[in-house]
């Protein structure tokens, strides 16, 4: 099965800074791929790059292929026919992502009329169907509401309705549930999951919530400082994380385990923060890595296939195979 989207060595630079330093990954049709990493790891820039919305002064290299078609050097006009029709996107803030002066219906009708070239009446009918599809009750009445009359969860549903209006092959959800409370998060993710199964649509889920990844993603890709550091199925990645950064992320997430209650001590953290990566020679995670060796500072470790479908970018992986206890991570 050929992948729907192939990203090869995609990099983004601004001036002397290089926030995305070459990531490669595939997305298969109907698959939910999660990209995780802390703020500044280049997740959102990668997502914007996939839909051609990077600022004009950004330098992009590498290739992006969608269903075999190279998207790297499309004109703005060609991009417009891809955005919304082939690739949809939903953003983090449902409160501000809808235009406040247009009704929900007008906003859905507009995108349908641009891409599907249908008349106003059938566009409106389709808009009501779409609101129904995203589980908005009384879609026929809600369609004439303005965004300020809807709750955050409702607005994110509307955003999803707009995003999937033209049956895109790929939907990018950039932190789409971060601004919502946990119950609504679960509903929205359930909705996305149903939609991608029903519409055979691939979803790229960008998040820093590992719980969401574990429950919903088919595959997970961990990014650190603009590079992919680990990739695999969620269960193996979370049970046997290879890269020290993934281990750190997992250790830093609260879990229902002994020793995780706040009374038993603070939650673990990864010391330090993402360092400015100019003139970097070795592994970007080296300053924060509990297992760093002198050799880590020599060259950037390449991402290697460790076992079937599992990739990691750490030279120490084979020697550290196996479940890593929290104590080992804290180290001292």
């Amino acid at each position: 099965m050929t992948p729907l989207m192939e990203v090869h060595d995609f990099a983004v630079g601004f001036g002397s800074a290089q926030p995305v330093k070459g990531v490669s990954f595939d997305v298969t049709a109907g698959e939910m791929l999660a990209i995780v990493g802390e703020s500044g790891s280049g997740k959102s820039l990668t997502a914007l790059g996939l839909i051609g919305l990077l600022p004009s002064h950004a330098r992009k290299t590498g290739s992006i292929r969608l269903a075999g078609r190279d998207l790297s050097d499309l004109s703005e006009r060609q991009w417009r026919s891809i955005r919304g029709r082939e690739i949809g996107m939903i953003f983090q803030e449902p409160m501000t992502s809808l235009n406040p002066v247009l009704t929900v219906g007008e906003q859905i009708v507009e995108v349908l009329r641009i891409h599907d070239k249908i008349d106003r009446r059938s566009a409106r009918k389709r808009a009501i169907e779409l609101l129904d599809l995203v589980n908005i009750p009384e879609a026929g009445r809600r369609i004439d509401d303005y965004p300020h009359q809807l709750s955050g969860g409702m607005r994110q549903r509307v955003m999803i309705a707009i995003g999937v209006a033209c049956n895109p092959k790929l939907l990018i959800a950039d932190e789409a549930t971060t601004a919502l409370d946990v119950t609504i998060q679960a509903q929205i993710l359930q909705l996305l999951d149903n939609l991608r199964l029903n519409l055979n649509m691939a979803v790229i889920l960008i998040t820093h919530d590992l719980g969401i990844v574990a429950q919903w993603a088919d595959r997970v890709m961990v990014m650190y400082a603009g590079r992919k550091v680990e990739e695999g199925l969620p269960q193996p990645v979370f049970e046997h994380p290879y890269h020290p950064y993934t281990r750190g992320l997992l250790a830093a997430s609260p879990r229902a385990e002994v020793g995780q209650h706040y009374r038993d001590g603070p939650l673990l953290e990864i010391p330090g923060s993402i360092v400015s990566s100019l003139h970097e020679k070795g592994c970007a995670f080296r300053p924060r890595c509990p297992d760093a060796r002198a050799s880590c500072g020599q060259a950037v470790p390449p991402i290697k296939l460790i076992s079937d479908g599992r990739y990691a970018a750490c030279p120490l992986v084979p020697s550290q195979f196996g479940r890593v206890s929290h104590d080992a991570l804290v180290g001292a």
Partner: protein
């Protein structure tokens, strides 16, 4: 490879789906649940909801505007001026510049000329009624012209930014460094002073204000999430500018435009006062100008058209204030 992965994962996925159907049911269940809920919904909740529904869109702003007594006074006075101007040919057919009676009839002296006659024996009330046409036409058309140029240039500068913005801002600054009224006088003096040229000249000197305001609004709104969202849906520049950003940028522009009408009326009056207006048309400014010589003996000749200007401008300012209150979201939230 990936397909085998997803099959390997499917049991856990199914578990996940099964677990969360309790939280969010798929469409058919949701519809059923909706029916059940509508059955148990309290009647007051239903009525409250319909009341909420009924005042959506512009109605809220209109309601705020209409509960403002100042704005009502302004609208009523301006409406009466507009009606007078529209009815002028019926009320006073013929040329208001015609001599109809003996000069210097004071207001109230002769019932046929309630506001008296001027130094040439022309009917003052006829002049004021016809003058309203000129003042309003010039005010509205000049503002429309200024708005069109200003919004166009401001939108392009604010939306595209970069060198386009720099060039346009420089042009705006050139206009702003020139004293407005001097530029106006020069423009009118070069062209023949007719109503058209005066209107065009006023439009040309007022657009930079609108352009600056529009540019500032566009620069702020350009960064909003919904503009990024619109771009992510494949919208073109024109659609984003006119359908997405402009409606959001309009409230301050609308408020400014009502003040601009007042400003244009004043500028036209000032030009006419200086004798630079259209000599063949009577306007409030030209009436004040011709009454100036006899201001000590027949002050009513300057005072009456002056009052017409004052009240019209005040009513426009009251409307502007009312619009500002109604269209400024922060303010209207407090009043709600």
């Amino acid at each position: 490879m990936t397909s085998s992965q997803s099959t390997a994962l499917s049991p856990s996925l199914l578990v996940a789906v099964g677990r969360s159907t309790e939280i969010a049911s798929p469409p058919p269940d949701a519809a059923e649940a909706e029916k059940e809920w509508s059955y148990t919904r309290a009647p007051d909740a239903l009525s409250a909801r319909s009341a909420y529904q009924s005042r959506r869109g512009l109605r809220r702003e209109i309601r705020i505007f209409l509960t403002n007594p100042n704005a009502i006074v302004g609208v009523l006075f301006l409406a009466s001026v507009v009606v007078t101007a529209l009815l002028a040919p019926l009320l006073y057919p013929g040329d208001p510049l015609e001599m109809v009676s003996r000069p210097f009839l004071w207001p109230g002296q002769n019932a046929d000329y309630p506001l008296g006659t001027d130094s040439m024996g022309r009917d003052v009330l006829a002049g004021i009624v016809h003058g309203a046409r000129i003042s309003l036409t010039v005010g509205i058309v000049a503002t429309a012209l200024g708005l069109t140029i200003g919004i166009g240039i401001g939108a392009v500068a604010g939306y595209f930014g970069g060198w386009v913005d720099e060039v346009l801002v420089k042009i705006i600054e050139i206009f702003q460094t020139l004293p407005n009224f001097v530029l106006l006088v020069v423009l009118v003096a070069i062209a023949q002073p007719t109503v058209t040229t005066v209107t065009a000249a006023i439009g040309i000197i007022t657009w930079p204000t609108v352009a600056r305001l529009t540019r500032a609004e566009f620069r702020a709104i350009r960064e909003k999430d919904y503009v990024l969202a619109a771009r992510s849906l494949g919208y073109g520049h024109a659609r984003i500018v006119f359908a997405e950003i402009l409606p959001n940028a309009l409230p301050p522009i609308i408020v400014t435009s009502s003040v601009m009408v007042a400003g244009a009326i004043l500028m036209e009056a000032a030009l006419s006062f200086m004798g630079l207006g259209d000599p063949n048309r009577v306007s409030w400014g030209s009436m004040i100008g011709s009454g100036r010589d006899v201001i000590r003996t027949a002050w009513y000749l300057t005072a009456l058209p002056g009052l017409a200007i004052v009240f019209t401008v005040i009513s426009l300012n009251l409307i502007s204030d009312g619009l500002n209150d109604a269209l400024n979201p922060r303010f209207s939230e407090e009043r709600r």
